[in-house]
Amino acid sequence: MNKPIYMDYQATTPVDPRVMEAMLPWFVEKFGNPASRSHAYGWEADEAISLARKQVASIIKADPREIVFTSGATESDNLAIWGVAQFYRDKGNHIITPTTEHKAVLDTCRHLEAEGFEVTYLPVQTNGLVDLKSLEDAITPQTTLVSIMAVNNEMGVIQPLEAIGRLCRQKKVFFHCDAAQGVGKIPIDVNAMNIDLLSISGHKLYGPKGIGALYVRRQPRVRLKAIMHGGGHERGMRSGTLPTPLLVGLGEACRISEEEMAQENTRLLALRERLRHGIMSQLTHVSLNGDPEARVAGNLNISFGYVEGESLMMAIKEVAVSSGSACTSASLEPSYVLRAMGVNEEMAHTSIRFGIGRFTTEAEVDHVIRIVVNAVNKLRDMSPLWEMIQEGIDPQTLQWAAH
């Protein structure tokens, strides 16, 4: 079987061959423990890690000493939110986060609620963006932390990080940013944006899976309670032997992404607009989810009216995408992110996320346009809702029995 065309770059990315090349010597030949201070095996590993730390710091304009390596963005989110909340418990017990965050953030907040903290889940606007006024209104003297993602994983919208950071600094609350989908995709400057903690994932930027980092600001200093206890690695914030090959991979992935970001974004934007235009010029009742301007180049999330998302994915099985449709999840609920943006349930069921990236070609985009247009037309011929539209009846005006 031919593998489908990969358009799910928000789920994960392949490791860049240059990244793998850089990692290879660190498995067999240079296997030393970077914490071994007494011999050359340890020294060379430690040097490699210093370089990786610089490369990771550089892509977010941080100091290498502010980087804590973790197993991925989920761990970074847990460490940042739980760690800060617990450390500053005496100062306040209130956390703010939008309803469209990743589960790694939302679930950590739920967990903290069970531990007696108070969490405000901030609604977003219909374009998916946080409203600064409502954020400001939500901050109380009890608030210690605001956690807002850089780029949404489903819709690709970019939050106004600089304005959020300025507000948080002014209100003297810490600002954690889950930037798993943002690092390497948009320019991030932790100082200009007043970000205090920032989560990074390796496998979202063509690095290996199982590695990530948390940026923890030194000036003014942010402290947190560790989750992993042991040898006191990473300045006591995250114990555990550093996995040299993975770190070398993450560092190289950051180096490449930083160097190539500008030109790669130009290329991706052209491809995405080609895809968007190709689909929207040939089909009616198609809508873009999320802000049309404030979004990353590699994401196109669209709803195909009157065509259910899962059946559309079956019809376009030559393309690997994901859907906000309930039927793709065990819960039978459509995407909570789209629902939080006020996308009605019906349209949420019809959404498809096309994620393009470093290895997507123009020929693939053109092929996908053809497949999608054919599939939507075929499914609409089969759709009773589409039939109503053709007869001039809007299904939304009818009474439907929930089931």
Binding site: A326, L332, E345, M382, L385
Partner: protein
Amino acid sequence: MAYNEKVLDHYENPRNVGSLDKQDAQVGTGMVGAPACGDVMKLQIRVNENGVIDDAKFKTFGCGSAIAASSLVTEWVKGKTIDEALAIKNQEIADELALPPVKIHCSVLAEDAIKSAVADYRSKQKGA
């Protein structure tokens, strides 16, 4: 999720897609489900003078299993009397398509569609 072969077959080669004339007194139209829940099935049956369903058509907005269940039901009801058609249970549909628990509601919807189509046909006959 990997799909069962029978679901795939019905999904890729759906039987009896289309519409019958809903004004026709011999035609019963059932519409069940809701767009907000992600599935809407329209099932139409035509009943001949002997009380036998001689044609059936469907249109479905829904996942692959919902489309497969509707397609299957159109095959099953053809040639049956109304009472025989009403005897089709969702469990038989689920078994035939080997639906996983999370998709059982698709078979329930298909059974409801039959009932709804029959009810529409009967009310037309009463009115006539």
